[in-house]
């Protein structure tokens, strides 16, 4: 409440009441003023801050980051390949579980509402369900990106398949 009062976002009627009380009550007035001064001093500190790092530390950090930067391109590639592989695997598992009716209730709900709006995905999964095999191997990129988004929409800690 005090924060609202100090930054001016307080409801005007409440503000009036508080102003009225403050004008009659010296301790409260002193409290409010000093509270506001504290916030202002901190703000000044923030403006003056220059993010100093001791020179020695800066040199060591710089060296460290430089050596990290050299290895950076290969690392990035390695890491992205890994992520891509993981994603493909996950999507394949998801489609498999959907076709076999083994989705968890949260995932099934998401999948149902997505498929209702997306003929591409619903067509793919229906075909999988009817034939028992995925049409043309792994899902195409479009479907894959939809399904990744769908998995990411699951609440954290929730698995998409039934245990």
């Amino acid at each position: 409440m005090l924060a609202d009062y100090c930054n001016g976002s307080m409801d005007p009627r409440l503000r009036e009441e508080l102003d009225e009380h403050l004008s009659r009550c010296e301790p409260c007035m002193a409290f409010t003023k000093t509270f506001r001064a504290t916030c202002e001093e901190t703000r000044k500190l923030r403006e003056a801050i220059e993010y100093a790092i001791p020179d020695e530390v800066r040199k060591r950090l710089d060296l460290f980051v430089r050596s990290a930067a050299l290895k950076y391109p290969e690392k990035v590639k390695e890491y992205r390949d890994q992520v891509e592989r993981d994603r493909r695997e996950k999507v394949t598992d998801l489609v498999g579980a959907a076709a076999a009716g083994q989705l968890s209730s949260a995932a099934a709900l998401l999948m149902e509402s997505h498929c209702a709006a997306c003929p591409e995905c619903s067509g793919y999964i229906d075909a999988f369900r009817n034939t028992g095999t995925p049409r043309g191997g792994d899902p195409p990129a479009g479907i894959r990106s939809h399904l990744i988004a769908l998995m990411q929409a699951l609440p954290p800690g929730e698995e998409f398949f039934l245990a």
Binding site: E41, R46, Y51, L61, V65, A68, Y72, P73
Partner: protein, 201 residues
Amino acid sequence: MSAERWKDDEALLEDLRKGAPGAVAELFRLYQGKIFNLAMSILKNESDAEEATQDVFMTVIRKVGTFQGNSAFYSWIYRICVNTCLMRLRGKRRSETVSIEEFMPVFTDEGMHASPMDDWSKEVERDALNEELGRMIRKFTEELSEKYRVVFVLSDVEGLSNEETAKVLGLTIPAIKSRLHRARLYLREQLSRYLREGKAE
């Protein structure tokens, strides 16, 4: 956050994702001070903060490919920094912190302030006090327990909004507001005591 900062971050993020030469150096240039200081304010120890800063840069570089863009780039980096530091703290003996309860305002049954209230708001406007007050605020902040300190540093020192701080720490906005308010109350009381003692001397 200023528009310029935003543009810098966008371009930097793009370069990092492409693996552009110099991107890592630019990331380092823009964030080394902020990250090191944030780490310092949580860990309160230079060599710990240095190691934590290294870890933060490594994590940012490794994971930038998976950054979703759901939040601002800088708040994602802050989050990595806070998590890295808290993980480090967990393995350590807790350092001495003060109990914040001691510094909360006390009211009488009639709803009046129980302790005498000096109004020192005019005094601190004197320039001569500025530097000293800054030092005292830092010192008092360091004595806060990490629960309040991290929120206070992110909001009031780094200037993040309540929403951003909540995202960085994975807390609710009411929780942020309450911790922030208590930290400010604490600081007000500490400054009051400090200025009162100064006068008595």
